[in-house]
């Protein structure tokens, strides 16, 4: 085979060979992606884990002035039965002074009849600073009567809003709904 012969081949077949290269490369990229997807997706929560990602709580069982702590998929949540005094304190705050401004009403969810159940406050149980679980009624409610995080000293008020300490945000209100006047369903 002479050099001239090879050169002719390359000249004649150049576009066709380019096409083959691009097509093969595209097919390879598609194949790699299709194979990689299951191996990445399996790392995520499995179906049984996803199925266990909500819980129902009977709020009538929460004692007045106390709270119930619920674990859903390993994450803590607080369901607190607030006293009239605590509700009044939460509503009296001037939100412009807050680090993460939210009114107390914005942090509540209406019952089936559309009314807000101000007595029941549902929040995440993980401090927004570094994820510790704050202590609450019966132990130490902090300077503002809500919760106190013992890790780095964040104080939350009776609406779960950050008032003092390193935490940047209020305790988040999870997705939940009233199935009846006394039964709530919290979802992750």
């Amino acid at each position: 085979m002479s050099d001239a012969h090879i050169t002719n081949h390359e000249e004649d077949g150049e576009t066709r060979r380019d096409f083959i290269h691009i097509a093969a490369g595209a097919a390879l990229a598609g194949a790699v992606g299709a194979v990689a997807w299951p191996f990445v997706k399996q790392l995520g929560p499995a179906a049984d884990t996803r199925a266990a990602s909500s819980a129902e709580v009977d709020v009538s069982k929460v004692p007045l002035g106390g709270e119930v702590r619920v674990l859903i998929g390993g994450k803590p949540f607080f369901v607190r039965h607030r006293t009239e005094k605590e509700i009044a304190e939460a509503e009296a705050v001037n939100i412009s002074t807050l680090r993460d401004p939210q009114t107390d009403d914005e942090r509540l969810v209406p019952k089936p009849d559309g009314e807000l159940n101000r007595a029941i406050l549902v929040t995440s149980g993980a401090c927004t600073h570094l994820g510790c679980v704050p202590v609450g009624p019966g132990t130490n409610t902090g300077d503002y009567g809500g919760w106190f995080c013992p890790c780095h000293g964040s104080h939350y008020d009776t609406s779960g809003r950050i008032r003092k300490g390193p935490a940047p945000l209020n305790l988040p209100v999870p997705t939940y709904e009233y199935l009846s006047d006394t039964l709530i369903k919290i979802s992750l």
Binding site: P38, F39, K41, A46
Partner: protein
Amino acid sequence: MSGPSTYEPKTGFEKWLDTRLPLIRFAKDTAIDFPTPKNLNYWYTFGAILAVCLVIQIITGIVLAMHYVPNTAMAFDSVERIMRDVDWGWLVRYIHANGASMFFLAVYMHIFRGLYYGSYKAPREVLWILGCVIYLLMMGTAFLGYVLPWGQMSYHGSSVITSLIGAIPVIGDTIKTYLQGGPAIGNATLNRFFSLHYLLPFIIAGVVILHVWALHVPGNNNPTGVSVKDVKKDTVSFHPYYTVKDLFAILVFLFIFAFFVFYAPNSLGHADNYIEANPLQTPAHIVPEWYLLPFYAILRAITFDLGPITAKLGGVIAMFGAIAVLFVVPWLDTSKVRSMRYRPLAKQFFVLFVAAFIGLGFAGANNPDDLIVAFGEDKLVVAYTDETGAAARSESFAEYHDAEHFIEGLDESAGASMEVVKSGFKWLWAAQFLTFFYFAYFLVILPILGIIEKPKPRPLSIADSVLGKHGQGSAGGTPVPGAANAAAPRDDA
């Protein structure tokens, strides 16, 4: 064959790296420029296919280990959870389970190719032995992995195999107990089997590196068995010629692999293994996975005592011997001609050997006492206890009338019972015959053939073979002075 390196570092970084860690030079010399005989056929692609198999098994295995629980109370359920709840878990597990079968399918092709083309002969003995080590490690890994799902076959299969160790005289029982970590297969066994099943593939990977190293010193054998004489004429660079050929073969192989994974994922397994392990109930028909069946048949073929060696120990010796004999094949085959392409007798015995190996597989899959072909009359056998009540006896009859008459003549305390026994050729006898042939092939046929066989003329070089010149005095070829058949060198160097 790894001649002087042709790598020229071009950029400053390449030059800098080349004097410190010549990684690019190594990659280029071994995977790109490596001179490879130009006549390799598709039987030579199984090496690359096996590398892919190992990678697939390791990746899917690591993923499965993320979800599997090595505890007898949870193992079976955790596997079912992988199948049902883990996203794509069914796919990963089916790839891993069928991947083991595909791995062995490829390794058998690879081994038979080596046996046919004489790839174990000088100077490739170490390459061959390392391959045997990998094969042995693969069987160990596959066995350990099969125990993990904690199904009925897992449990009772591992029980049978660990019992084999117990057949070793004097120390056998102690070794067995230490292997099991208790009086029987249990949680301790499962934990250590999981640990070792995770470890062994990486040891295999290490031996594979040695295997490739040992391949790259003498270079590839080839279908003619004739050594490379002129690197320019006889070889082509590994890339792109064999990278593309291997890649094509890998794709075809993955088609077959995918067929099993998606359309017949359980066809190579046993339904019994989807029943959780129950130590109190052994499945009616206990067999290993298909790739271990020939050795299982050899194990069961020894049903007779040989002097001080009991049948049980004899079976174990035969089974391990069947693998051990592979290690010494380079010294059992006395022929100086590598490729059986030029060995008319050896070629025929090789075909018989492959058939015998497959036949052993079927013998291993069947109950030894079942019949391959039935012949002769069915017999009636009356089983009873003798007058003293101490010994069980039996008597066979051709006619029902005679058997009935015989029972009537017996005392009631004899507890006689009658059974139809079919006569014919048993799988056991096939297994025994094929086991005999298996060993005879290596220990008798290969050594003798090398002495008595008259090989056919071989091409003078790989280039001649490719160009169709079957020289050395054969018709049509250019006669080469001084290379007449009778004077042909006895080795392929």
